[in-house]
Symmetry: C2
Subunit: 119 residues, 2 copies
């Protein structure tokens, strides 16, 4: 059994939204796939600096199960597997954009505070 996460019952929309994005690398995978359109496993691995193969595949599988990611296997040797976002994945990425913008502002704020604190 791979799926361990909950997928409901949810008490509200944010709860449900947060559930599919919670996982250390998920939002980054989302961003990477949205940005490049299609990425091979190895490309994702190299793109997400620090991710382990175990977590990468685990997150990809969960996101596939959640209908966010499409997995295309090419029967070649060595094997080739390409990942891309589904329509749901793309819309989720859109929904995360305001949070990303908020976070960017927060980073700026923190930087400013740190700068003025060390004066």
């Amino acid at each position: 059994m791979t799926s361990s996460t909950r997928r409901g019952p949810y008490i509200c929309g944010i709860d449900a939204g947060m559930d599919v994005v919670s996982g250390k690398w998920k939002s980054l995978i989302l961003w990477e796939l949205d940005n490049y359109g299609t990425r091979r496993f190895g490309e994702l691995k190299r793109g997400l600096v620090g991710v382990s193969e175990k977590m990468l595949i685990q997150h990809l599988r969960e996101m596939e199960e959640d209908g966010l990611v499409h997995r295309e296997v090419y029967r070649e040797v060595p094997p080739r597997v390409e990942y891309s976002l589904t329509e749901h994945g793309r819309s989720l990425n859109d929904a995360l954009r305001p949070l990303g913008a908020w976070g960017t502002k927060r980073i700026k704020r923190l930087t400013t505070e740190k700068a003025s604190a060390s004066t």
Copy 2:
């Protein structure tokens, strides 16, 4: 020392945004405070069914430290403490709205699938 969470360095805005919201009850606290404007500790506890006092206060403290929540103490007996959102907290809540809407759609989708699966 209460603060254990990371607060950076962040690799992007979503990363920073997710950081302040990650915590089982944080988005719900945000929603509750935004909805009521001001809530006492006990009111929050009763509003968030299932939360323990330990987690509630821990989350509130972290959110206060992150500048999302304002804590007002009234020196009465028995004590009264009121929590409310700061400007940053309110803007974060706004930023989370699209994710909440996405989640609501997802819940509907899941419900529909489940319904048609059991036919």
